[in-house]
């Protein structure tokens, strides 16, 4: 039951940040909000594993954490230099 309450709190936080992602004035706000949503989803997957009683699936959240970081840095690099490669 406690884990369910935590999941509900996560969904409230998700909604708050989603408003900032949609309404954000500058692109940096949106990138920041997308990154925070990624962190919250990582935590929510782990908590969901505990709620279902089978917490073996935390590997997924490891992959999420990696992908989230790589995606955010890629967006910022594209925004800085206008391209992804070195040339």
């Amino acid at each position: 039951m406690m884990f369910l309450a935590i999941l509900f709190a996560f969904s409230v936080c998700f909604l708050l940040i989603l408003i900032r992602l949609i309404a954000g004035k500058t692109t940096y706000d949106r990138i920041l909000a997308a990154n925070s949503i990624g962190t919250i989803v990582v935590l929510a997957i782990s908590i969901h594993g505990f709620y279902m009683g089978r917490p073996e699936f935390i590997d997924i959240s490891i992959v999420y954490a990696l992908i989230n970081f790589i995606g955010t840095v890629a967006v910022l690099k594209l925004f800085d230099k206008g391209k992804l490669g070195d040339k």
């Binding site: 369910l4 999941l7 969904s11 998700f14 909604l15 989603l18 992602l21 949609i22 692109t27 949106r30 990138i31 997308a34 949503i37 990624g38 989803v41 929510a44 997957i45 969901h48 594993g49 699936f57 590997d59 997924i60 992959v63 999420y64 992908i67 989230n68 790589i70 995606g71 890629a74 967006v75 594209l78 925004f79 206008g82 391209k83 992804l84 490669g85």
Partner: protein
């Protein structure tokens, strides 16, 4: 177990909100950010629907590789879309979508309830596969057992599809000027 289904309903509504905002944005980079978030929420949804392997693939492929591919393509493309006003074509498209969507929702009353144990999907084959992967193959993960053993040829065809797509991308983006410079370099060498 109504709580599981309510969690799913919440998550899928978040996805609806994100998709509605994808329609209206004009900055392409914001579209890509929203699409990445969309597939992140989709993967969370897959976890809550017990499809762990699918969530793993969606996280690495849908949220990771797709986003990077979009960004790599965006670096060659214009960064902002042309403004469009709401015109006759949009009304045509909207009416077609409303018609098909209405028909599908009407048909959904005949679909079985989500999560019911007696649904027709769960009646055949599944128990065979679960028993078989325990006794014949010896892998605890049933999805991997089916994918690599019972339907191995199908997975082989999938790799061929990806190989073909990779070849096609290479042919499309192959730099033709490189060929010409090679020729001119060869000519110069032969002259000397």
């Amino acid at each position: 177990m109504i709580t599981e289904i309510i969690i799913n309903a919440f998550l899928v509504s978040f996805m609806l909100v994100i998709a509605l905002f994808i329609v209206n944005t004009r900055k392409v980079i914001f579209t890509i950010l929203l699409a990445g978030t969309y597939s992140l929420v989709a993967a969370l949804m897959f976890v809550s629907l017990d499809a762990v392997d699918v969530a793993f693939t969606e996280a690495s492929v849908g949220a990771g590789i797709s986003t990077i591919l979009f960004l790599a393509a965006l670096s060659f493309l214009p960064k902002e879309e042309v403004q469009e006003s709401f015109n006759k074509n949009n009304i045509f498209a909207l009416s077609i979508c409303l018609l098909i969507g209405g028909l599908l929702i009407w048909a959904s009353y005949d679909l079985p309830m989500v999560g019911n144990e007696n649904n027709p999907v769960h009646q055949h084959l599944v128990s065979d596969f679960i028993e078989g992967s325990k006794n014949h193959i010896g892998i605890p993960n049933v999805v991997t057992a089916i994918l690599a053993s019972y339907r191995g040829y199908d997975t082989f065809g999938e790799t061929i599809v990806i190989y073909t797509a990779g070849l096609a991308v290479f042919i499309l983006l192959y730099n033709r000027t490189l060929k010409e410079t090679n020729k001119s370099v060869k000519n110069e060498i032969s002259k000397k």
